[in-house]
């Protein structure tokens, strides 16, 4: 199949799944589909750095969690009618997604700018370990900072509001998430075709030549890393709205690993790869987890098989062409 055919098929499967959930009146399946969409968004963010840029970040859960905490903190303040700051000027919480999202994106992007500026001084294995370590730093901070629940996490009791969305129906958040997915897909598609994306992919393949033509790989990589983190942070804000709960578990190294698995299972450096990966991962988790308590053994074996024998993931298996990005 061609790549566009696979992409269309993936969107059709998602739509059919949601349609079936509505017809069969199974709100839980809609929640499952929303989870898929949100993890796909997080994966698309990581894929920009990892797939196109070759920047193997093992710390994207930090941005996922930061976006989540921005959402949780703003919403909990709004629900308790407690301002966040009174001095020097008044800042209040909010339950408007349209206010929460830009802040979640901004906070994740700023964190990524700082972490990226330090981590990108190194490369290869160092980069993997350092991004993992910085994520762990934020994880431990979230655990030991008691104001927003510490280890226990923070519950928000009502889903936040979006103009025109029914905040009490599972379908509402699903539609909003699909909208965000579309925006993010469009954004990453535009970036990878633009100067930044070209330079990023060239810097992955041959940093020396990129420098020779007058582009500093560091700047290109830092920009891409920041955008990548911002997208993952946006997904984090949505995830908290889905669960009505945020906790340090969102920032844990396991979450970083899961987002990475989603990118790899789907197919590194393919625009729709993370969507395929998220579908596979979450459906496996749901259905295998239901029949076999230790399903992660099977997940581990499957991942091992993909890495050793089926490089390119689901997309790589389905698509017969030679112009997909490969890592290396």
């Amino acid at each position: 199949m061609r790549e566009w055919q696979v992409n269309t098929a993936l969107l059709a499967i998602l739509a059919a799944f949601a349609g079936y959930a509505v017809l069969a009146d199974e709100p839980f399946l809609i929640t499952l589909a929303t989870r898929i969409v949100i993890f796909a968004i997080a994966g698309i963010g990581l894929n920009l750095a990892l797939g196109y840029g070759g920047l193997v970040s093992f710390g994207h859960a930090a941005f996922f969690g930061l976006g989540g905490y921005v959402c949780g903190i703003l919403a909990s303040h709004a629900q308790n009618y407690e301002p966040i700051f009174e001095t020097p000027f008044l800042i209040e919480g909010t339950n408007q997604m349209l206010v929460i999202w830009p802040l979640a994106i901004l906070v994740s992007a700023l964190a990524a700018l700082l972490i990226g500026a330090l981590s990108l001084r190194t490369s290869g294995v160092y980069f993997i370990m350092i991004t993992l370590a910085f994520a762990q730093m934020i994880f431990f901070f979230a655990i030991s900072w008691p104001a927003y629940g510490g280890e226990d996490g923070l519950a928000i009791f009502v889903r936040n509001e979006f103009p025109g969305m029914d905040q009490f129906a599972p379908m509402g958040l699903f539609q909003v998430s699909v909208g965000v997915l579309a925006v993010v897909l469009l954004l990453v598609w535009r970036i990878t075709g633009a100067r930044l994306g070209m330079a990023l992919q060239a810097a992955r393949q041959n940093p020396g030549r990129v420098s020779t033509v007058g582009i500093r790989p560091f700047g290109v990589r830092l920009t891409a890393f920041t955008i990548s983190a911002a997208i993952t942070g946006w997904a984090g804000a949505l995830y908290v709205d889905l669960n009505k709960f945020v906790s340090p578990a969102m920032i844990s190294w396991e979450t970083s690993g899961e987002i990475m698995i989603i990118v790899i299972l789907g197919g590194v450096g393919r625009l729709f790869g993370p969507l395929a990966g998220a579908m596979l991962f979450i459906l496996l988790e749901h259905y295998l987890g239901g029949v076999f308590e230790f399903w992660k053994i099977l997940l581990g074996l499957a991942l091992l098989a993909v890495v050793l024998f089926a490089r390119g993931g689901v997309m790589g298996l389905l698509i017969r062409d030679s112009n997909g990005a490969t890592h290396g």
């Binding site: 990892l50 193997v56 093992f58 330090l118 981590s119 001084r121 190194t122 290869g124 294995v125 160092y126 993997i128 370990m129 350092i130 993992l132 370590a133 910085f134 762990q136 730093m137 431990f140 901070f141 655990i143 030991s144 900072w145 008691p146 104001a147 190294w253 690993g257 990475m260 698995i261 790899i264 590194v268 230790f294 399903w295 992660k296 053994i297 997940l299 581990g300 074996l301 991942l303 091992l304 993909v306 890495v307 050793l308 490089r311 890592h327 290396g328």
Partner: protein, 305 residues
């Protein structure tokens, strides 16, 4: 107060020595084979479980300790031959993923065999007392023994690498694998031995710590990530860097948790002072890592890779 500081300092060194046992294996495997091994934490867990299970079965901590070395080394050798061997020529992303998959298999497999309840391991009779430190406060003998054991192992590792034939081969393998293969060294076997050696050190660390904490699934990964911090600070591939980095991280972390809340209490209310102090203390070693990265991106003792 000085006695308390001394006690915390020793705790920090003990923690650092444990981190060294983890970091030494990681840095050896990276230095010689160029492999990043996330499953190193699983080998630590295997060591702890083997020690706890055998000690419970036979009643002897020492048999447990021997079992932990054997089990971790065997698990390491099997994993190297079955999986890791195929990864040396792959890029780091593949290595991360495959060893992440191994973590899932090890963790869930252990949960399957032993259940989710933690196991407990008692400090051996011989080392269960306390010694009196200068200043008059008692300090657990077992922790002191860990420090001594760790330093002896560090010395042994230096001698092994600097003075023995295996050490010569390891160093040669670090600089040029094709050359030493051409000279007639069985490089595959050398790699298996190095990997099993690193695994045994991790298993030993797990067993020794198992008597201080509970033995449970998932105990390895937090230590693994700290060992990464140690390696980043010390420089990848350097055993000396791993030792100094480990002690630095161990002492910074322990002293930070002890001193920072007290420092904030000098100008804040007690309860927010403890909260702020411990929150900042939990980030201290990462700040240390960031500072090292700013001034020496290759680590304190790292060469250029």
């Amino acid at each position: 107060m000085t006695a308390l500081i001394l006690e915390q300092l020793l705790n920090g060194v003990q923690f650092g020595v444990m981190l060294f046992l983890m970091a030494a294996g990681l840095t050896l495997v990276f230095g010689v084979m160029g492999l990043i091994n996330l499953a190193h934490g699983s080998l630590y867990m295997v060591g702890a479980f083997a020690c706890a299970a055998v000690a419970a079965w036979t009643g002897s901590f020492w048999l447990g300790l021997a079992a932990s070395l054997a089990a971790a080394a065997a698990a390491g050798a099997i994993v190297e031959i079955a999986v890791i061997r195929r990864l040396y020529t792959r890029d780091h992303l593949d290595q991360v993923l495959a060893t992440f998959a191994l973590i899932l298999i090890f963790s869930e497999g252990t949960r399957w065999i032993f259940g989710s309840q933690p196991l407990y391991l008692n400090v051996p009779q011989m080392l269960s007392g306390a010694v009196t430190l200068p200043g008059g406060i008692p300090y657990p003998l077992y922790r002191l023994a860990i420090i001594v054991a760790g330093l002896v192992i560090a010395l042994g590792l230096f001698l092994l690498i600097a003075r023995t034939r295996l050490g010569i081969r390891i160093r040669a393998g670090e600089s040029d694998r094709e050359m030493i293969a051409a000279l007639g060294v069985d490089i595959d076997r050398l790699y298996t031995v190095v990997f099993a050696l690193g695994a045994a050190l991790a298993g030993l660390a797990g067993a020794l710590v198992g008597a201080l904490q509970s033995v449970e699934v998932g105990m390895g990964e937090p230590v693994l990530i700290l060992a990464f911090v140690v390696i980043v600070i010390g420089g990848i591939g350097s055993i000396k860097g791993a030792l100094i980095g480990a002690i630095l991280v161990g002492v910074t972390d322990t002293m930070g948790r002890f001193l920072l809340p007290q420092f904030f209490a000098t100008f804040m209310e007690p309860s927010p002072a403890i909260a702020t102090g411990s929150a900042i203390a939990s980030m201290l070693i990462y700040a240390l890592m960031a500072v090292v990265l700013i001034f020496r991106p290759q680590g304190l003792f790292g060469g250029v890779h």
